[in-house]
């Protein structure tokens, strides 16, 4: 024991543990350890500028980067019955929900929006892994159904960004029932011949992969995203062998024929536009960042028409 351990180290520790310095301005890449400046990281859509590692991105940030001019309209999602099972483990489910809402600033684990990407009208849904592991709840089911309904009403394609550990245990069987429920939404799009594109992001597992996240017309994944049904640890315990390098990663799935493409986040927008426009029989897109779409012309409020209709006078005039 010396004076350094007793005296100096606590001071240094307190300096470093007071997260104020790095937390907001700098993020350490969990893959390569590079310290990334927040603005630089944000401009790169949370992809490490040094090693291309794709970090989590919130649905809102993703939509801001995706939609033309960052402009999108949120789609309202009907709220389901709260805490349907009166579930409690070590904590009450409503308390876990509140904590997740506070931590993310979002109401639930799925955000739905409509807008234009590359001047292509679309509906987008994005799952938020930060919200209770993105788990599939009745709200998430409602969100996907709402997204499909808007797509149907406006004849637009649906693009869904998945990220989840599976069904929400706190909603028990009703969590599980979102598998068939969301599959009905996929069926609605199929019947209407509207494209449904799934972008699988890290991580997408369990009942989510075993329902809407694997039923896209086109299946795209972000690089190195973990995608699978069972957890790797459970598999290793069951088969009593070590799993190969890259198991259940996007590239591994691509090799095994389970995906159409693995696409870098920075190229995702252009790729979606290209694919969607072909599937929708639209002419090729104009490339590059586009400004927000012009607001829809609001019909001017005209003064009340005069008692005699102008058309009527015209008609009368015609035979002359």
């Amino acid at each position: 024991m010396n004076w350094i351990t007793n005296y100096v180290r606590p001071t240094i520790n307190s300096l470093f543990s007071r997260r104020e310095v790095p937390e907001n301005l700098w993020t350490k890449c969990p893959e390569c350890g590079t310290m990334l400046f927040h603005r630089e990281l944000k401009d790169n859509q949370n992809v490490c500028t040094s090693c291309d590692h794709h970090m989590a991105i919130t649905p809102r940030e993703r939509f801001a980067a995706l939609f033309d001019g960052g402009i999108f309209t949120e789609v309202k999602v009907p709220k389901p019955v709260a805490d349907p099972l009166h579930f409690r483990d070590q904590k009450k489910y409503p308390d876990r929900l509140k904590a997740a809402q506070k931590a993310t600033g979002e109401h639930e684990a799925m955000l739905v929006a409509e807008g234009e990407i590359g001047r292509t009208p679309v509906v987008c849904a994005a799952q938020d892994f930060a919200f209770m592991g993105g788990s599939m709840s009745m709200y998430v089911g409602n969100a996907i159904i709402a997204a499909a309904e808007v797509a149907l009403a406006k004849k637009r394609p649906l693009v869904l960004f998945s990220a989840a550990g599976g069904a929400r245990m706190q909603e028990g069987i009703l969590g599980l029932m979102q598998m068939p429920r969301t599959t009905v939404a996929v069926e609605m799009l199929r019947e209407a011949k509207l494209p449904y594109i799934v972008v699988l992001t890290h991580p997408t597992t369990g009942g989510v992969t075993a329902s809407y996240a694997m039923l896209g017309d086109v299946q795209i994944a972000e690089p190195n995203a973990l995608i699978g049904f069972a957890g790797a640890r459970v598999i290793e315990q069951t088969i009593r062998e070590k799993l190969p390098e890259g198991f259940q990663r996007a590239e591994y799935l691509l090799d095994h024929g389970m995906l159409d493409r693995v696409t870098h986040r920075k190229e995702m927008r252009d790729e979606l536009v290209t694919v969607l426009r072909m599937l929708m029989q639209l002419p090729p897109a104009v490339r590059g960042d586009l400004p927000a779409p012009a607001p829809e012309p609001v019909p001017e409020k005209k003064p009340e028409p005069p008692a005699a209709k102008p058309e009527a006078t015209e008609k009368k005039a015609a035979p002359k």
Binding site: M138, I173, P180, A210, S211, L215, F229, A230, I235
Partner: protein
């Protein structure tokens, strides 16, 4: 007779009665009938009391009871001309899933179910009822055939869940389950499903996305096993009793939640105590559910199924 942990006191009494009778058989002089009958009565009361208030965890144990009738037993007893159809035409035939053409009350149907096996050899052969992607793909193929030939589909659900294996993942376990659920929603023929034992998460959904769903009285249907849930939420797999309680996985709770339509009453002491009676009861419920759907047009059947799942859960426990 295999006794469950909570049936131990019952096992003792029934064992004693059996012992007495065995002694009497060896020694004709002994008259034990009165004493044995008293033990029988005591056992009967105990059995009734035990099964009157089974906890959710105890129901899980009953649902997994090795002596319960399994899919094959129901098919053998309730269907005639059962003609198994094998394979997914792609990779393999999955023995955890059995299915094929058969007649139910003389009418042709397609029957599909998970089979767990009933001894070490068949259990291994059946992979304990844990299907691989090929099992779901076989089911998709059979449902498709049923659709084209206008045959009602009957599914029997009894699985701990999909098999967590390396090959299963590589060959698209999730996609296979998703496609099976999707196929359930697309077929224009009646689809009825009965959970006869364990309805283990996605592997069960893949077969049970039906027009009518029934559960045996002591069967369970859950998003995750109580052990799995306990180890995640309680960080302690030993808390499975609490997890089973919280998950509301019993037939009774599922009916309250509006997830299932009917409960099939089991013989006192569970389906394993009187296999014949439970098989007959399941036969009856299949008949009733198919009758409810008979005469419905393909489009109406598809609509009925979709509406059922879209509306599901909208009322919570008040359903």
């Amino acid at each position: 007779m295999n006794y469950l942990e909570f049936e131990k006191p019952l096992a003792e009494i029934e064992g004693k009665a059996e012992e007495l009778r065995a002694m009497a058989r060896a020694n004709k002089q002994m008259d034990v009938e009165k004493e044995a009958a008293a033990l029988d009565a005591k056992a009967a009361t105990m059995l009734r009391d035990l099964y009157k208030n089974l906890s959710p965890w105890q129901k899980c144990l009953v649902a997994r009871h090795p002596d319960r009738p399994h899919c094959k037993d129901y098919i053998d007893a309730l269907f005639t001309e059962y003609t198994p159809l094998a394979g997914d035409r792609n990779f393999a035939d999955d023995h955890a899933v059995m299915g094929g053409l058969a007649r139910f009350n003389d009418k042709p149907v397609m029957v599909i179910g998970h089979e767990k096996g009933n001894d070490t050899k068949t259990r291994i052969e059946r992979n304990f009822g844990m299907a691989r992607p090929e099992g779901y793909r076989k089911a998709v193929r059979l449902m498709d055939m049923a659709h084209r030939f206008g045959l009602p589909v009957v599914t029997l659900v009894d699985t701990p869940g999909a098999y967590p294996g390396k090959g299963a993942e590589e060959r698209g376990q999730s996609e296979a389950i998703a496609r099976s659920t999707q196929k359930c929603l697309e077929i224009g023929v009646p689809l009825v499903s009965i959970v006869i034992g364990e309805g283990g998460s996605g592997g069960a959904v893949a077969f049970a996305t039906a027009n009518r769903i029934a559960m045996l009285e002591h069967s369970v249907y859950s998003v995750i096993s109580p052990e799995g849930c306990a180890s995640i939420l309680w960080k302690d797999a030993e808390k499975m009793r609490e997890a089973a309680e919280a998950l509301r996985l019993t037939a009774q709770d599922l009916q309250k939640l509006g997830v299932i339509d009917r409960i099939v009453t089991e013989p006192l002491g569970g389906a394993q105590r009187d296999r014949k009676q439970s098989i007959a009861a399941v036969g009856k419920v299949i008949e009733t559910m198919l009758a409810e759907l008979s005469g419905m047009k393909p489009d109406a059947l598809i609509k009925d199924r979709r509406k059922k799942f879209i509306d599901m859960g909208s009322k919570g426990l008040a359903a």
